[in-house]
Every structure is written in C-alpha cells, then in structure tokens.
C-alpha cells in the first residue's frame, strides 16, 4: 500500500463531542477539572477569568438551551431502584455538536426538558421551569452554516436566537462586538476545537408579524422554494447582537497519532479527506502528527486563492510556484531507500473542495487543462495532504486520480460514515470502522476494524506477512515445476526425441499434488519471516516489500536460474553416474526407469528441503507436512513398486516393479543422491550466508552513523 486516504471525524477522532469552554461577552469561561483519587471530577461551578454580567450569562445559557433541534428520549421506567435522577432522559440529535452544547448548558444549571405542544421547557439554575413558545425554526443548512429559532417568552417578549459558524455570524452582528470574541474563537480554532458563535435579537411585534408572513409565504411557495426561504433567512438573521462563542472538542482516537507516525515511517503517504472546515482540520492534523512542526505547508484554499474573478489566475500562480519549489528543488541525495524522505524537507499540502473542483473541472480555457497534472505532481511529492470541505464524490474523485497516476500505486481508504462509502469502494483496499455513524462503511468495505489504531497492525504486520507468503508461493510453484520438467526435457535429447517420459506415470501425476503441495500450503498459511511484534514496532520493515518488491525481475530471474541450475544438476549428475558399467557390487545393470527414479528422488528431496531452508517460523504443522511429504514419497514408492498388479483395470504393465527398492540397495546411488541434493541447495545456502553477512555489516555501519 502506498497511499492511505482517511476520513477525519469518527476515524481519526472519537466523534464524541465534549463541551470545553465558552466565551461570553469576551470573558472566557472554562471548566475546572479537579482530580480526586485518579478520577477526574468536574466541578459544578465555572472557573472564570473575569466575569460578565449575570444576565448575559443566563441569556447565553438560555440561548444554548433553546437554539437547537435536540429531542428528549425518556428512559424506560424500571421498577425498583432507579439510578441517578438526573439521567432519566437522553438527548437525540442528528448532530453530536448540538448534544454537546445542550449537555454543556445542563452542566451549568440550565437543563432542557423537552418540547411539548410547541413549548420548550427549561429548568434554570434556581430550579424553576421556564416555558418558551417555539414559533419558528430556521433550520441549519451547510450553505449558510447557521440556524435560528424564534421564541416568545412567558412575558411576551419575542427573541431570535442564532447559532452558527463564526464566518457566517460575524457579518451579521454589530461590528464593535466582534473583536473581543474573535480573539477567543481564533485561539480555539488553533487549539483544534470546533467553534460556534451565538447571537440574539429582540423582535417587536410588527417585525415579527412581517417575518412570520414572509416565512409562511416562502414555506408554501410552489416554485423556487429554497431560494425564497434562503432570502427570508438572510433578511431575518441580520443586525443581531453577539452573545458569545463555544468550543467543543472532538478528541482524537487513542493512538491515532502513533499510528500515523508509524505509517509515515513505513513509507506510506497519508491523506486526510474531510468535510470539516480548514482550521479545525488543520489543528487535528497537527495533533495527530500528520504535519510535523518542520513541515512546510502549501495552501491551495479559498482563503489563499480568493473569491474574485481572478481566482483562476491566482490559482495558476500558486500551482506554478509550488511546482517549482517541489520538483525543481529536489535535493540531490537519491541513494538509499527509494521512498525515504525523512532526510529532506517535508511538505504538506492543504486544499479544499472548491479549489479542487476548480482544478479538476476547469473552465473552457485551454490553459487550465493541464492543472491536473501539475497538481498531481505536487501532491505526489508531499508527505501529507489535507483536503477539507470535501463532498463525498470529491473524495472518490481524488482516490481515482491517485490510482490512475503512473505506476498505479496501491491505495487504501478508511472511513466510518456513509459519506465515506464512495471513497472506500473506489480504493484498492477499503477499510470500514464500525462507529457511531452506523454500519454503512463497514458493510461496503473489504475489511472492518473497530478503531483506527488497528490499521497499524493490519498493514504493517498482517499485510506484510500476506504479501511475503503469496509472493513466495508464486515463485516456489514456478521454480519446482521448472526443476521437475527440465530433466524430462533434457532426456529427450538422449532418447531420440521420442517423448519418452523420464519418470513413471504415477510420479508424473502425483508430483504436484501429493508430494510437493502440502509443504508450500503450510508455509503460505503460517510463515512469519519476521516476528509479528517486530513488524508492528518497526515500520521501516514495511518498505522492504514496497512496489511489489518480491515479484520484480530480479527475484524472478533468481528463482528461474535456481530452478534451471537444479534441473541441470539432477539430470547430468545422474547421467554421468550412469556412465559406468554398474552401480551395484554384483555387476547388475540399471534400466531407464531406475534412472528416472533416481532423478525424481533427488528432485523431491531437493525441492522440499529448499522450502525447509526458506521457512523461518517452524510450527508443528510445518514439520509434519515437510517430513511427512518426504516419508509419504518413500512409502508410496515402495508400495507402487512392491506389488505385482494382477488385477487392475488401468495398470497393464509392471515396469516399476521393485525399481525403487532395488535402487536403494546400491551404495553409489545413496552417495549420488546425497551429493546431488547438496550441490543443488548449495547456491541457496551460500546466498543465505552472504545475506547474513551483509545485514551484519549494515547494522555495524548504521551503528556508526
């Protein structure tokens, strides 16, 4: 695997939001966490750094309690003892942020009790119940990125509460209030928290009637309903007063930082594709060590490119600049491992959805048509890429783009929600996380894991092992058949090219299935050439199998050469052995079936012993199948040659009668078999010894470095 595409929320993060702090009128309020006996316990009171007015605090908390679309679910009544009295109800909402905010308000005394007959009930700090009549809900949509409610209090006041992203709230409030809150918001975003701002407006009856009428008209409109509603929302949510801002934390999953570090060290490039906004995503990336402090970040976002009509030109400038920086200024040290960039300057790229669509779907100018290639080149040189504000289809688009580059790298996608399904399906390997957002991702994936950290062992240990096993299996099969057929082929030169088989028909049939299949089967299921723990803890080992390393030309030629060499050794070894009168001490002569049987015996033993040499991890099964196969061969040969087949529908000749047993009575044959097996395995043994020496010398050199 070369490229990993991950989703952020739910994959890298826990997707469980927690209310961390808020800022009311510019004053920061943060939780006080005290540790008692190792358990962290939150105080009920707020620790404050300078206090705002009590009424403003209460207004803020009321806003939090009212401006949402959370519903209450009553817990089932259980006979007998009931647990905590406050936990009778659970909150349900489509957005975990809202639940976090409501729970946060609950912690400070304002509990949301539910919606009954258009009235929202709240219990405030003095334990009184307040009722608010819910008049309108202006729902959240991702375009305008805010939501509002209009409520009437018991005293008849009409209030509009609005909650949303800071970029959509700030333009709509009084300008002088922004600054003090903006400071806090920016700091929260830098810390990686998800920020929301809260504003309110008091409405007069007349204003309300107008708004009411407009809303109803827009809701009932038959044509262009969305546009009409959007316009009404725009008009309504204007000239508000900013109350404060909230910060919600979405914690990183355990060990996701270590996992990403390990994957980087293994030579894989990690791309984070998310729908969240850039600042939050960026800080998450810093937190999970996708971007190190030394990483130079290249940005291709709306912020940098701008929104004007000149954005295409600006994009062009940026692309050229980055391209020049990355491609032409590549450092000159190309030696060593193919994908080690830990020595040179690291680059990270940030891009968001709209800029991406500019690049991938250019307008009619021909000059912008090769942006894609330049962009791709830039991407491939960066160690980490962050794509924010991505639509699900764009995620799949990016995966496809990388898949189709030169060299066809193997891609892996991991995600947890339904919006990741297209990405998972597109990549070569799709991994789904069974998380809070349902089972869609895991249903569509190739592998499902419970947490992000499991990716590490999956790739570094299991992926590595599977690859090594399969590659070895393929090479071994070709090799053993080459050994098998080459003597047969060479024999034709000595039998008048008449297709006389060298081995008996039974041996021909049973070689591949009965004598040599079980050992390699056991090997390819059980082999661990390096311990699993070592593989997991040392990610650099993964680079040994990058780019299909075990099936490239060089290993293939080695195996082929080995097979050809062994075939020649078998055949000509026995050929020269047969140049004398007799191999026995009583002068009797061997025939052609004995010749073939000697070659076959050497063959079976050599091929199986080669596998035994390659096995690094011996289990009882390996021992059983390897020695068992050899024993089976011997027993079968005795059996096959020990019986005169009087009654047999398919065996009309006794050519193998006693051949094997007779062959074993001759000392010369034994000596020859042992010698030929040894000569055949000699190159392999030599190579192992030389490899060990080279590794030792590498270790010594690395120690010096």
């Amino acid at each position: 695997v070369e490229y990993i595409f991950t989703d952020k929320t739910g994959t890298l993060t826990e997707n469980s939001m927690e209310f961390i702090e808020c800022c009311i009128d510019g004053h920061k309020y943060k939780d006080c966490i005290s540790e008692v006996d190792g358990f962290s316990q939150t105080d009920g009171s707020l620790k404050y750094y300078g206090k705002a007015e009590k009424s403003r605090e209460e207004l803020f908390l009321r806003a939090l309690c009212l401006c949402h679309t959370v519903q209450i679910k009553e817990a089932d009544q259980v006979d007998g003892l009931i647990g905590h009295p406050e936990r009778k109800h659970t909150y349900i909402s489509s957005s975990p942020d809202e639940i976090a905010l409501v729970k946060g308000a609950e912690k400070y005394g304002f509990t949301f009790l539910g919606l009954q007959n258009d009235f929202m009930k709240i219990r405030n700090q003095k334990n009184e119940t307040e009722m608010y009549q819910l008049l309108h809900v202006l729902n959240f949509d991702p375009v305008r990125r805010r939501m509002s409610v209009i409520v009437r209090t018991t005293t008849g006041k009409l209030l509009l509460f609005c909650k949303g992203a800071d970029s959509s709230i700030f333009p709509r409030v009084q300008q002088e209030e922004i600054q003090r809150t903006k400071v806090h918001v920016d700091r929260n975003a830098m810390d990686g928290y998800r920020t929301l701002c809260v504003a309110f407006k008091e409405l007069t009856q007349k204003e309300y009637d107008k708004i009411d009428r407009q809303l109803n008209e827009a809701k009932m409109a038959l044509q262009d309903r969305e546009e009409k509603m959007a316009k009404v929302f725009e008009d309504t949510e204007a000239d508000m007063h900013l109350i404060g801002a909230t910060a919600v934390e979405d914690r990183l999953q355990e060990q996701s930082a270590e996992t990403i570090e390990a994957l980087h060290a293994a030579g894989m490039k990690v791309w984070v594709l998310t729908g969240d906004k850039m600042e939050t995503a960026k800080s998450t990336c810093y937190a999970c060590r996708l971007f190190q402090t030394s990483t130079e970040l290249l940005e291709l976002t709306v912020k940098v490119v701008g929104e004007s009509e000149r954005k295409e030109d600006r994009l062009h400038e940026l692309l050229m600049e980055y391209h020049k920086k990355l491609i032409q200024d590549v450092p000159k040290n190309r030696g060593g491992l193919k994908r080690s960039w830990t020595l040179s300057q690291e680059y990270g790229l940030i891009i968001d959805g709209s800029t991406l669509s500019l690049i991938l779907n250019p307008s009619q100018d021909s000059s912008s048509s090769n942006y894609k290639n330049i962009f791709l080149q830039i991407c491939l040189k960066c160690t980490a890429v962050l794509c924010c504000r991505m639509a699900p289809l764009q995620k799949a688009q990016i995966v496809r783009m990388v898949k189709n580059t030169k060299g066809s790298p193997i891609t892996l996608s991991i995600g947890d929600g339904a919006n990741d399904v297209s990405m998972i399906l597109e990549a070569h390997v799709g991994i789904g996380i069974k998380g809070k957002e349902g089972r869609q991702a895991s249903r569509n994936s190739d592998y499902a894991v419970p947490k992000f950290k499991h990716l590490r062992k999956l790739l570094l240990a299991h992926g590595h092992l599977y690859y090594v096993r399969i590659a070895h299996l393929v090479q071994y099969f070709f090799y053993k058949n080459l050994c098998f057929i080459l003597p047969q082929f060479l024999y034709q030169f000595f039998c008048g090219f008449s297709q006389q088989p060298l081995y008996d028909a039974a041996y021909l049939t049973m070689y591949n299935i009965c004598f040599t299949s079980l050992p390699i089967l056991a090997y390819s299921l059980l082999e661990q050439h390096i311990n699993i723990d070592t593989l997991t803890s040392d990610p650099q080992l993964y680079m040994k199998v990058s780019d299909n390393a075990m099936l490239q030309w060089k290993p293939f030629l080695y195996w082929t050469f080995l097979g050809a060499f062994e075939g020649l050794v078998f055949f000509f070894g026995v050929y020269f052995l047969f140049q004398n009168s007799s191999l026995e001490d009583n002068g009797k002569v061997f025939g052609n079936w004995t010749f073939g049987t000697i070659v076959f015996t050497v063959l079976v033993f050599t091929v199986t012993l080669k596998l035994a040499l390659d096995t690094r991890f011996w289990t009882w099964m390996n021992h059983f199948v390897i020695w068992g196969s050899l024993a089976f061969y011997v027993f079968f040969s005795f059996f096959w040659g020990g019986v005169i087949w009087q009654v047999s529908p398919f065996l009309k000749q006794q050519r193998m009668y006693f051949v094997f047993a007779h062959m074993l009575t001759s000392v010369s044959t034994w000596l020859a078999i042992i010698l030929l097996i040894f000569i055949s395995l000699f190159p392999e043994i030599l190579l192992i010894v030389l490899k060990n020496i080279k590794e030792k010398s590498h270790q010594v050199r690395n120690k010096f470095m």
């Binding site: 052995l577 001490d585 009309k652 000596l671």
Partner: protein
C-alpha cells in the same frame, strides 16, 4: 573391445553384411592383450552404441502380463506389442519390439598360453535382478520340464532364429526366465549402454582371475547393427563395492568438498573481521 567390424582391417569385417538368420552363423575372432591381471570376480558385458532402447514406442512395446506367465495373455497379447503381436495369425510369445530385437551374439573367451587356447568358464546365471528372475518373469503355468507344450499355440518372434522355449537346455533358464532374455528386456536408459553378459568367477585368492597376457575373443556374429550406425563392444570389468569404474562420484565429491572448505575458510575470515568490529563498536549508553 569394439568388434563391429566396420574397418576393413578388423577380423569381423567379413560378418558385416551377414543376414540375421544365416546358418551357420558367421564367426570371427579378435585377439587382445590384458596389460594387468584382473583380481576377484570379473564381469563380462556387451555394449551397444547408438541403440535407442529408450525410444518411447520401443519401451512400451511389451506385454508384462504375458511375461508374468498369465495364460490368457500368452494367447492374446496386448495391443501395445503391435506390430510384433501376431505372425501369420498366431500370437507371438514373447511379443513386442523389445523381445524381437534381443541380442543374440555369442561371445567366448580363450586364454592364449604358448599357442594353446584355454577356454575360460563363463557363468550365465546370476546376471539378472533376483526379483526379475523369480517374480516378474514367469513361464506359463504347467510342467516346467516340458516347455514346448506350454507354449503351444504361439509362434516365435519374427527375428529370432529359435523359439523362446529353446533358448537354453536347462529348464530353469529356459523360456521367459532365461536370464539373457531378462537382462535384455530391462530397457537401458541411454543410447550407449552395457548389459551384463557373463560372470567369470574367481578361483581362489592366490591366483588372479584373469592373468595378464594374450586372450582371444570368439564371436558368433548374429546381431546386425551396421544399418543404423550402431557399434558393438565387449567389456571386461571388475566391480568394487561402489560399482564399476567411474571417476564421476569421486571427482564430484572432492570438488564440492574443496569448494566448501575454501568457502568455509573465507567466510570464517569475514565473520571474524565483522565479528571483531561489532564488539568494538558497542558504545556504552
């Protein structure tokens, strides 16, 4: 000793174009000298060259159940034997091309001692595999002494001078269990091969079996090989516990042994060098 007789100077040149069934058979004599005396048991082989006993259609042209004494196969040989299966509507016993091309030269050995020819006893028993002679090849069931009756209804192979039940006068070397026949039926692996013909047993430990000196080989030249450029030889050989004379195993073992020894020394030096460096590079933490 090659006795094909293709050179005009060879004594067997006159027998070169003789037909296979001429009576009386053409005889020729070749004189040779033994440089050294041969001790212990001496084995006499005949060798053929350019004779492809391992040709596929030749190898399969036999009927093992007939040779095992099965009466039904005796009168109804298998189809593999074609075209040597029947002759004039009578089944051939033994059928097949292998049996048909049986080697039928007769070789006799004489020692020349001051112009007197002393014949050397050649033993014809014990040249075939024990299992071949006693299990695999059996005469048809019946009275072993009257083989002619047992082979009733069959005819001799096309190119044989005499039928199979007249291969030898002794009943336990006659018919299918004739050892020369059995030795011939074990197809050789390579086109240049030798087959055991006779044994010369040692007399006692004091005298060598074959003294150095002059010998003469008398050949009844029946077997024509000239048409396919084949060659015929007679070989005298002594056998050790490892078999006949063949330097291959010895040379191979010595070569491989020396290479291994040499590499062992080289790798030991390398290991020593790196082993030393390894220990000296340990920087204490």
């Amino acid at each position: 000793i090659d006795y094909t007789g293709t050179e005009p100077s060879s004594p067997c040149n006159k027998c070169l174009n003789v037909s296979w069934d001429s009576t009386p058979p053409c005889t020729c004599t070749i004189n040779f000298t033994l440089e050294h005396s041969f001790e212990s048991n001496v084995f006499m082989y005949y060798g053929l060259s350019n004779f492809y006993q391992n040709h596929r259609r030749y190898v399969k042209s036999r009927d093992d159940s007939q040779l095992n004494g099965d009466n039904s196969s005796l009168l109804n040989p298998s189809k593999e034997c074609e075209p040597y299966r029947t002759n004039e509507d009578k089944p051939i016993a033994p059928c097949g091309a292998i049996a048909n091309s049986m080697f039928n030269d007769t070789l006799e050995l004489y020692r020349i001692d001051n112009d007197t020819r002393i014949p050397i006893t050649l033993i014809k028993k014990g040249i075939a595999w024990w299992t071949d002679k006693n299990v695999k090849f059996r005469n048809p069931t019946g009275d072993g002494n009257n083989l002619t009756a047992l082979f009733q209804g069959t005819t001799k192979p096309v190119n044989w001078p005499k039928p199979v039940y007249m291969l030898d006068s002794e009943p336990d070397n006659n018919g299918f269990i004739n050892e020369d026949f059995i030795v011939w039926m074990r197809t050789a692996a390579l086109p240049t091969f030798r087959k055991l013909y006779r044994l010369i047993e040692r007399k006692n430990n004091l005298h060598p079996t074959l003294q150095a000196g002059k010998y003469s080989l008398v050949i009844a030249y029946n077997y024509p090989v000239h048409s396919f450029d084949g060659r015929k030889r007679m070989i005298l050989s002594t056998i050790s516990w490892m078999g006949g004379k063949n330097p291959f195993l010895g040379i191979a073992y010595i070569t491989v042994g020396s290479i291994c020894f040499f590499l062992g020394v080289v790798l030991l030096i390398i290991h020593h060098k790196y082993g030393n460096r390894n220990t000296s590079a340990d920087i204490p933490n």
